[in-house]
Symmetry: C2
């Protein structure tokens, strides 16, 4: 069983990587795009005997303790079977 | 309408960032985890008049041209409303 934690900068926090990607896409011919934001995704293999809920709360605990900087980042947790 | 492109290293490609995160989680008390892999996620605001399918194929085109290095990375595209 896998847990996927998505970490994105909060709305309003400047995202220079996203800006650079948006500019590069425009140069490549992808015009008319709006905001581009870049984040990170961490996939963690958790013990298979955990339930969906246990896996989700484990993912949330790991995000809070290490994976996300809650001052500037938001996270979401998905459980993949 | 938003397109989310998830880019992960292919299976078998060494992922030192994932390894470092896995080690740090173990030190923090999250024992018994399996493989940890880290990737990136890019969220792109696309024009609202596009259909789901158009948005998905636009996301795939952007991933192939810029966002993913197909030699070492795989990507998935999701359309968020």
């Amino acid at each position: 069983m896998k847990v996927r934690v998505n970490v994105m900068l909060k709305e309003g926090v400047l995202d220079p990587q996203g800006k650079a990607i948006g500019h590069a896409l425009d140069v490549l011919g992808f015009h008319g795009l709006g905001e581009v934001r870049m984040g990170k995704v961490i996939e963690i293999e958790v013990p298979a005997q955990k339930s969906q809920d246990e896996a989700a709360s484990l993912g949330e605990a790991m995000a809070r303790e290490l994976l996300a900087n809650l001052v500037i980042e938001d996270f979401t947790v998905e459980v993949l079977s």
